[in-house]
């Protein structure tokens, strides 16, 4: 299994992190369960640089990428409300991650495989000398680079949700929701999928992992943790908050598809940090994840445009941007597992499925998922999560999975079974849908009854920019 995870080196007091490099580690026989002093020689400057750059790229996905992608799609009277929601969620989630998030997600829960403990709350014991594990034996990265990389994921995931009830949510209620949702949904999901003891330690601690990791579920960069998780929370939210006033009778066209195109493009660029960065090292698999992210997105954009060309006779800019995002979502769990050509197939397949949900199912069922968080992120995420079980197969050119219970990690392509893996993937999807869906519903209900989640109809009609934030996006 080649999932991502961390592991920390003990709080070592090592003077220099970069004395020796990977060359040294490769020359000698791998060291099982290295101590802090040995680990300090297993850090590579290239890996560290790549992780820090990736963290900045993922931040760019949220702001301004997601804010513009979403903002362009709402009416001009709600532009700033969406930008502000994304901006403030990013800021609050960053603080919360340092306080408790990192610890809950990435420390061992012992025999509890649902969430970790509080031993690293407020980043206790984490400093410039502590290290985190990667997917390779005897390769480590500075733990703080892992903390900040994962922080950017904890920022963008709740920000994705706001698209489902954009133009009709009360700011204060939303922020309280995001705090509670992060603690009760995001951190446990991240723990379940991505926590494990690390390649040098698992052999001695064979049950030290999160629940889904233990099942063998594959999620390279966050198909379940980020996209299905946020997508189902969005669907539940738009159902419980109710439709926008006037929906669907009143026309509510996007106010600037140029913004949406810029936002989608920034998402695409930032996504290289998200997917290729998730390899935690700068190596061949990183390149695999990078090119898969590129070509799956191209395929999905082309696919969506072709559907529109046949269905309406005109391929739209919004359609191409939506297809690109669906492709990015779908390739996320598979990024480091598939091959470029299977990723292209995945990109072509995801667009028609999301297209049906966005243009047909939503209208038939009548729910008001303002910016199609469910139709694109949840459905695209499910397609990607299940397809990961297929494209990861070495028989199809995929990367397969490593057996980390052995030391050093063993690889045997013949043990990979598409059928078994797809069943595991489906189980992981179902658990994510239930966990996030149920807890989100409870949170929306409680916050709706106390602080409130809907502004008044007058405020909604006037637009949230003025009524929630006291400003207008455009003064002309």
């Amino acid at each position: 299994m080649m999932n991502r995870k961390l592991l920390c080196g003990a709080g070592a007091m090592i003077a220099s992190l970069c004395v020796a490099s990977a060359a040294w580690a490769q020359a000698a026989a791998p060291i099982k369960a290295p101590d802090a002093a040995a680990m300090a020689g297993m850090v590579n400057k290239g890996d560290t640089s790549w992780m820090l750059i990736s963290s900045a790229l993922v931040l760019m996905m949220s702001i301004p990428g997601l804010a513009l992608f979403y903002g362009g799609l709402v009416r001009s009277k709600n532009m700033l409300s969406v930008c502000m929601q994304v901006f403030m969620i990013v800021s609050v989630a960053g603080l919360l991650w340092c306080c408790v998030g990192y610890s809950i997600a990435f420390t061992s829960g012992g025999e509890n495989h649902f969430f970790g403990g509080l031993s690293k709350a407020f980043l206790k014991g984490v400093d410039g000398t502590t290290l985190g594990a990667t997917f390779s034996n005897n390769v480590y990265i500075p733990e703080l680079s892992f903390v900040v990389f994962q922080m950017t994921f904890a920022m963008i995931t709740p920000a994705l949700i706001v698209g489902a009830f954009a133009e009709r949510v009360k700011f204060s209620g939303l922020i309280v929701f995001v705090v509670l949702w992060s603690i009760l949904v995001y951190y446990p999901m991240a723990h379940m999928v991505w926590y494990w003891a690390g390649p040098d330690f698992l052999a001695d601690a064979p049950t030290d992992y999160g629940l889904l990791w233990g099942w063998g579920a594959l999620d390279f960069a966050g198909g379940t943790v980020v996209h299905i998780n946020a997508g189902i929370a969005g669907l539940v939210g738009c159902l419980m908050l109710g439709k926008r006033t006037g929906y669907p009778k009143e026309p509510m066209p996007p106010h600037s598809l140029v913004m949406t195109m810029i936002g989608a493009s920034l998402l695409w660029v930032g996504w290289f940090g998200f997917n290729a960065g998730s390899n935690l090292e700068a190596n061949g698999v990183t390149a695999v994840a990078f090119i898969n992210t590129m070509v799956a997105t191209c395929a999905a954009a082309v696919s969506w445009s072709l559907i529109e060309q046949f269905h309406h006779g005109k391929a739209s800019m919004l359609g191409a941007a939506t297809g690109a995002v669906a492709g990015l979502v779908a390739i996320t769990p598979a990024a480091g597992y598939g091959a470029p050509m299977t990723s292209i197939v995945l990109g072509f397949v995801v667009s028609p499925i999301c297209y049906i949900f966005v243009t047909q199912v939503k209208i038939k069922l009548g729910y008001d998922d303002t910016l199609d968080v469910f139709g694109v992120h949840c459905i695209g995420g499910i397609v990607g999560a299940i397809a990961t079980g297929i494209v990861a197969s070495p028989a199809l050119g995929g990367q397969g999975v490593f057996d980390y219970t052995k030391f050093p990690a063993a690889f045997d392509a013949s043990t990979y079974s598409i059928g078994t893996q797809v069943v595991t993937q489906i189980k992981a999807v179902l658990l994510t849908l239930v966990w996030s869906g149920v807890v989100s519903a409870i949170l929306y209900f409680v916050i709706g009854k106390t602080i409130g989640l809907r502004p008044t109809v007058e405020d909604e009609n006037q637009g949230l920019d003025i009524t929630s934030h006291g400003e207008r996006a455009y003064n002309y």
Binding site: P251, M252, P253, K314, L318, V358, T359
Partner: protein, 112 residues
Amino acid sequence: MKFIIAIIKPFKLDEVREALGAIGVAGMTVSEVKGFGRQKGQTEIYRGAEYSTNMLPKVKIEVAAPDDLAAKIVETIQQVASTEAIGDGKIFVLDLASAVRIRTGESGDTAL
């Protein structure tokens, strides 16, 4: 004096302005407007949500002119702004009671 209001397709504005300049029109007022006539609207589709916009963007030109020039202006606008398709617009001509140049206080034809 006559007051001429012409509603034309936006992309015809520059041509009309040049043609009117060539026949001696010294000034005009232009605004972006929306409206509908026989052309009706157009359909826009955003992720499957269809909106028919029943107002289309047009440009409104207003020109005040002496009586002897008015007919020539109307003829020029009609010829230049025409694409021979529906949606080309309309020209309205009104009698103008008076005109005053604010800077000097001149009135009548000399104010135009």
